[in-house]
Symmetry: C2
Subunit: 217 residues, 2 copies
């Protein structure tokens, strides 16, 4: 994050414009959702006409894809630094919730409703598996005695997504549980399905984390 001046002035300007476009795009997404993102509106805010932005992004979808990539990268970094500073599973869970609440639409851009045809580029799935990697790392740190549960034995035959990790299948299962359960609470909270029910979503989340940490038969 130090070498912002390594290239020609034109390229620096270009990078700056691209950054500002993304910034405004995030603002728009935060207030009106990704489907309402308008290149035209962004250009207007920046004092230019619409077509000018096509010098910087090939298309609207291209911009969105880049935002998705940035979001993944931001989450991966959050996980990485949390894990580097000795966070356990609970710490990771806390980091995840903090990251999600920081910008709900950013979370939903990754884990929310996808457009049916869309396929993420290769490098994005790479980042996603790095996230899974640190999650698996935190799971192996926990004792986990799940003796031949049916799904764990199934996982033993389908563990190629766990890349290098040599964790037992029960641990893979726990990582998946961590993912799906926290996503379940978080996504419903972010989507506003708990509003009006009165209880504190943070406590429900915490209870779920506790349950996740308790040794399960």
């Amino acid at each position: 994050m130090a070498k912002t001046d390594t290239k020609t002035p034109r390229e620096r300007y270009r990078a700056q414009v691209r950054a500002e476009v993304k910034e405004r795009a995030w603002e728009q997404i935060a207030t009106a959702g990704a489907s309402a993102l308008s290149l035209n509106a962004i250009a207007r805010q920046m004092g230019m006409t619409g077509p000018a932005l096509y010098r910087y992004f090939a298309s609207r979808d291209d911009l969105i894809t880049e935002l998705i990539r940035d979001a993944y990268q931001s989450l991966a970094e959050t996980f990485r630094t949390a894990s580097a500073s000795g966070a356990d599973l609970a710490g990771l869970a806390h980091a995840l919730r903090g990251w999600a609440l920081e910008d709900p639409q950013r979370y939903l851009l990754i884990y929310g409703t996808p457009v049916p045809g869309y396929h993420a580029p290769e490098d994005i799935t790479g980042i996603a598996s790095e996230i899974m990697g640190t999650l698996l790392g935190a799971c192996t740190a926990l004792a986990c005695d799940d003796p031949a549960a049916p799904f764990a034995t199934h996982l033993a035959d389908h563990r190629h997504w766990a890349a290098g990790h040599s964790a037992p299948a029960a641990t893979l299962h726990q990582a998946l549980n961590f993912w799906t359960r926290l996503h379940g609470v978080l996504s419903l909270e972010l989507a506003g399905h708990f509003t009006g029910m009165g209880f504190d979503p943070a406590l429900l989340f915490a209870a779920e984390v506790n349950d996740l940490l308790a040794d399960r038969a």
Copy 2:
């Protein structure tokens, strides 16, 4: 569902056109997602011009809202009939997954990414709480000995969403867990986040249901 002919011929025609519009709308949503729904395209498919449809639906958002209502009603009915035919929690879970896989975008229309400003009409939240009602009913049928867990005590003070139900707070917590955990697995599966990982989502779902049914401390 028998009295389709109770009104004037004009009203029958009107109802039929509205039904056909909705049908095409569901097709469009299933193939391209809700954000791609186009009144114009529907009108073209039906051999009319765009503005004609505004006689039947006040706006695009109005149509979508009605689709959301229908989706909720369909899910509520699925739950109702499942519960009426003696389904327990596992049966309800199975019914939920079946309903979701039947039309993934319909599930995501309800539980997926919302547009930030949107607020569902009153009657829709009513249907939602009916769904919660049958879920609570199935939960009370299960022994549930959660001795004063922190979140359960919190729920005891915030249980107005459980309307008439007199279930103990631990049961409310279990119903919430049922909701969030199954949604977690289902939504990630429907959004395609498991594709390429190789394992069978149905088994992960089943494992989650099993864990939900096992008495938890």
